[in-house]
Protein backbone atom coordinates (compact mmCIF):
# COMPACT_ATOMS: atom_id res chain seq x y z
CA UNK A 1 0.00 0.00 0.00
CA UNK A 2 1.99 2.94 -1.22
CA UNK A 3 -0.90 5.20 -2.10
CA UNK A 4 -0.62 8.05 0.36
CA UNK A 5 -3.10 10.85 0.15
CA UNK A 6 -0.97 13.99 0.36
CA UNK A 7 -3.73 16.21 1.64
CA UNK A 8 -4.27 14.00 4.67
CA UNK A 9 -0.79 14.76 6.02
CA UNK A 10 -0.73 17.60 8.50
CA UNK A 11 1.69 20.22 7.25
CA UNK A 12 2.72 22.75 9.91
CA UNK A 13 3.79 25.22 7.23
CA UNK A 14 0.34 25.26 5.63
CA UNK A 15 -1.43 25.66 8.98
CA UNK A 16 1.00 28.43 9.95
CA UNK A 17 0.37 30.22 6.66
CA UNK A 18 -3.40 30.07 7.23
CA UNK A 19 -3.09 31.50 10.75
CA UNK A 20 -0.69 34.21 9.56
CA UNK A 21 -3.06 35.18 6.77
CA UNK A 22 -5.84 35.68 9.32
CA UNK A 23 -3.45 37.81 11.41
CA UNK A 24 -2.58 39.86 8.33
CA UNK A 25 -6.26 40.51 7.63
CA UNK A 26 -6.85 41.71 11.21
CA UNK A 27 -3.83 43.99 10.98
CA UNK A 28 -5.20 45.52 7.78
CA UNK A 29 -8.50 46.07 9.56
CA UNK A 30 -6.76 48.25 12.15
CA UNK A 31 -4.76 49.97 9.41
CA UNK A 32 -7.98 51.00 7.69
CA UNK A 33 -9.96 51.81 10.82
CA UNK A 34 -7.33 53.33 13.08
CA UNK A 35 -8.62 56.66 14.34
CA UNK A 36 -5.26 58.41 14.60
CA UNK A 37 -2.03 58.33 12.62
CA UNK A 38 0.00 56.58 15.37
CA UNK A 39 -2.60 53.78 15.33
CA UNK A 40 -1.91 53.26 11.66
CA UNK A 41 1.84 53.30 12.23
CA UNK A 42 1.48 50.57 14.86
CA UNK A 43 -0.70 48.53 12.52
CA UNK A 44 1.81 48.95 9.67
CA UNK A 45 4.65 47.84 11.94
CA UNK A 46 2.70 44.72 12.90
CA UNK A 47 1.86 44.01 9.26
CA UNK A 48 5.52 44.11 8.23
CA UNK A 49 6.43 41.76 11.09
CA UNK A 50 3.71 39.35 9.94
CA UNK A 51 4.97 39.62 6.37
CA UNK A 52 8.48 38.75 7.55
CA UNK A 53 7.00 35.76 9.39
CA UNK A 54 5.23 34.64 6.22
CA UNK A 55 8.52 34.86 4.34
CA UNK A 56 10.20 32.77 7.05
CA UNK A 57 7.49 30.12 6.76
CA UNK A 58 7.98 30.15 2.99
CA UNK A 59 11.67 29.49 3.62
CA UNK A 60 10.63 26.37 5.53
CA UNK A 61 8.10 25.26 2.95
CA UNK A 62 10.20 25.72 -0.19
CA UNK A 63 13.71 25.21 1.28
CA UNK A 64 14.95 28.27 -0.54
CA UNK A 65 17.26 30.59 1.34
CA UNK A 66 16.27 33.61 -0.75
CA UNK A 67 13.08 34.01 1.28
CA UNK A 68 15.10 34.26 4.50
CA UNK A 69 17.15 37.10 2.99
CA UNK A 70 13.94 38.87 2.02
CA UNK A 71 12.65 38.47 5.59
CA UNK A 72 15.84 40.03 6.98
CA UNK A 73 15.60 42.98 4.61
CA UNK A 74 11.94 43.45 5.49
CA UNK A 75 12.79 43.51 9.20
CA UNK A 76 15.41 46.19 8.57
CA UNK A 77 13.10 48.33 6.47
CA UNK A 78 10.30 47.93 9.02
CA UNK A 79 12.48 49.30 11.81
CA UNK A 80 13.75 52.22 9.75
CA UNK A 81 10.24 53.08 8.56
CA UNK A 82 8.80 53.03 12.07
CA UNK A 83 11.56 55.25 13.40
CA UNK A 84 11.09 57.66 10.50
CA UNK A 85 7.33 57.76 11.13
CA UNK A 86 7.87 58.47 14.83
CA UNK A 87 10.29 61.32 14.06
CA UNK A 88 7.83 62.74 11.55
CA UNK A 89 4.93 62.57 14.03
CA UNK A 90 6.91 64.27 16.76
CA UNK A 91 8.16 67.06 14.52
CA UNK A 92 4.72 67.66 13.03
CA UNK A 93 3.21 67.93 16.52
CA UNK A 94 5.76 70.54 17.48
CA UNK A 95 5.31 72.70 14.38
CA UNK A 96 1.56 72.99 14.73
Amino acid sequence: MTSVVPSAVFEPADAGLAVLTAALALGFLRLVRGPSLPDRVVALDLITVIAAAILAVETLATRRAVFLDAAIVLALISFLGTVAFARYLERRGRDE
Binding site: G16, A22, L26, A53, A56, L60, D69, I72, L89
Partner: protein, 133 residues
Protein backbone atom coordinates in the same frame (compact mmCIF):
# COMPACT_ATOMS: atom_id res chain seq x y z
CA UNK B 1 11.69 14.29 16.90
CA UNK B 2 13.22 17.44 15.46
CA UNK B 3 10.38 17.67 12.96
CA UNK B 4 7.88 17.78 15.78
CA UNK B 5 9.80 20.56 17.51
CA UNK B 6 10.01 22.63 14.33
CA UNK B 7 6.32 22.23 13.57
CA UNK B 8 5.30 23.05 17.12
CA UNK B 9 7.48 26.17 17.20
CA UNK B 10 6.06 27.30 13.87
CA UNK B 11 2.46 26.87 15.00
CA UNK B 12 3.12 28.55 18.37
CA UNK B 13 4.77 31.51 16.65
CA UNK B 14 1.91 31.90 14.18
CA UNK B 15 -0.64 31.75 17.00
CA UNK B 16 1.26 34.44 18.94
CA UNK B 17 1.25 36.67 15.85
CA UNK B 18 -2.49 36.07 15.51
CA UNK B 19 -2.90 37.03 19.19
CA UNK B 20 -0.96 40.25 18.53
CA UNK B 21 -3.25 41.00 15.61
CA UNK B 22 -6.41 40.33 17.62
CA UNK B 23 -5.08 42.59 20.37
CA UNK B 24 -4.37 45.38 17.91
CA UNK B 25 -7.90 45.05 16.57
CA UNK B 26 -9.74 44.75 19.89
CA UNK B 27 -7.86 46.87 22.44
CA UNK B 28 -9.44 50.21 23.39
CA UNK B 29 -6.63 52.75 22.96
CA UNK B 30 -3.29 53.20 21.25
CA UNK B 31 -1.04 52.35 24.17
CA UNK B 32 -2.78 49.10 25.08
CA UNK B 33 -2.78 48.15 21.39
CA UNK B 34 0.91 48.88 21.22
CA UNK B 35 1.88 46.60 24.06
CA UNK B 36 0.00 43.74 22.35
CA UNK B 37 1.59 44.42 19.00
CA UNK B 38 5.15 44.76 20.26
CA UNK B 39 5.51 41.96 22.80
CA UNK B 40 3.41 39.25 21.21
CA UNK B 41 4.76 39.88 17.72
CA UNK B 42 8.37 39.76 18.92
CA UNK B 43 7.74 36.41 20.61
CA UNK B 44 5.86 35.11 17.58
CA UNK B 45 8.48 35.92 14.99
CA UNK B 46 11.15 34.70 17.40
CA UNK B 47 9.50 31.28 17.55
CA UNK B 48 9.06 31.12 13.77
CA UNK B 49 12.67 32.11 13.04
CA UNK B 50 13.89 29.60 15.62
CA UNK B 51 11.93 26.93 13.80
CA UNK B 52 13.56 28.00 10.53
CA UNK B 53 17.00 27.92 12.17
CA UNK B 54 16.43 24.40 13.51
CA UNK B 55 15.28 23.09 10.15
CA UNK B 56 18.23 24.44 8.15
CA UNK B 57 20.95 21.97 7.29
CA UNK B 58 23.27 24.79 6.31
CA UNK B 59 24.91 26.30 9.38
CA UNK B 60 25.29 29.74 7.80
CA UNK B 61 21.57 30.01 7.15
CA UNK B 62 20.76 28.91 10.69
CA UNK B 63 23.09 31.55 12.09
CA UNK B 64 21.44 34.13 9.85
CA UNK B 65 18.02 33.22 11.24
CA UNK B 66 19.30 33.43 14.83
CA UNK B 67 20.82 36.85 14.14
CA UNK B 68 17.49 38.01 12.76
CA UNK B 69 15.88 37.01 16.07
CA UNK B 70 18.39 39.17 17.91
CA UNK B 71 17.75 42.01 15.47
CA UNK B 72 14.03 41.87 16.29
CA UNK B 73 14.75 41.68 20.02
CA UNK B 74 16.90 44.81 19.74
CA UNK B 75 14.76 46.94 17.46
CA UNK B 76 11.18 46.21 18.57
CA UNK B 77 11.42 47.99 21.95
CA UNK B 78 13.20 50.96 20.40
CA UNK B 79 10.56 51.39 17.70
CA UNK B 80 7.71 50.96 20.20
CA UNK B 81 9.24 53.52 22.54
CA UNK B 82 9.62 56.05 19.75
CA UNK B 83 6.01 55.64 18.56
CA UNK B 84 4.64 55.85 22.11
CA UNK B 85 6.66 58.96 22.85
CA UNK B 86 5.56 60.65 19.63
CA UNK B 87 1.93 59.66 20.21
CA UNK B 88 1.99 61.06 23.76
CA UNK B 89 3.28 64.39 22.48
CA UNK B 90 0.78 64.53 19.64
CA UNK B 91 -1.94 64.04 22.23
CA UNK B 92 -3.48 60.71 21.34
CA UNK B 93 -6.28 60.26 23.91
CA UNK B 94 -5.95 57.60 26.58
CA UNK B 95 -8.73 55.14 27.26
CA UNK B 96 -11.41 56.75 29.43
CA UNK B 97 -10.98 54.06 32.07
CA UNK B 98 -7.25 54.66 32.43
CA UNK B 99 -6.49 55.12 36.13
CA UNK B 100 -2.92 56.39 36.29
CA UNK B 101 -1.09 58.69 33.90
CA UNK B 102 2.27 59.09 35.56
CA UNK B 103 3.60 61.35 32.82
CA UNK B 104 0.89 63.99 33.21
CA UNK B 105 2.48 67.31 34.10
CA UNK B 106 6.00 66.00 33.81
CA UNK B 107 6.59 66.67 30.14
CA UNK B 108 7.19 70.17 28.87
CA UNK B 109 4.96 70.34 25.78
CA UNK B 110 7.22 72.91 24.06
CA UNK B 111 10.69 71.55 24.56
CA UNK B 112 9.73 67.85 25.02
CA UNK B 113 12.00 67.74 28.07
CA UNK B 114 11.15 65.31 30.84
CA UNK B 115 11.12 66.97 34.24
CA UNK B 116 12.72 64.68 36.78
CA UNK B 117 10.80 63.23 39.70
CA UNK B 118 13.25 64.55 42.29
CA UNK B 119 12.11 68.17 41.94
CA UNK B 120 9.50 69.20 44.53
CA UNK B 121 7.70 71.72 42.29
CA UNK B 122 7.61 69.58 39.20
CA UNK B 123 6.00 66.63 40.99
CA UNK B 124 2.81 68.60 41.66
CA UNK B 125 0.93 66.09 39.54
CA UNK B 126 0.94 63.63 42.39
CA UNK B 127 4.23 61.79 42.10
CA UNK B 128 4.60 60.35 45.58
CA UNK B 129 8.16 60.08 46.78
CA UNK B 130 9.21 57.18 48.88
CA UNK B 131 11.80 58.21 51.53
CA UNK B 132 15.02 56.27 51.45
CA UNK B 133 16.11 53.97 54.27
Amino acid sequence: MSDWLEGALLIVGAVFLLAASIGVTRMPDLFTRMQCATKASTLGIGCILLSVALSMEDLGLAIRAILTIFFFLLTAPVAAHMIARAAYFVGVPLWEKTLVDELRGHYDPQTHRLAGGGDAESTAGGGKRVPGP
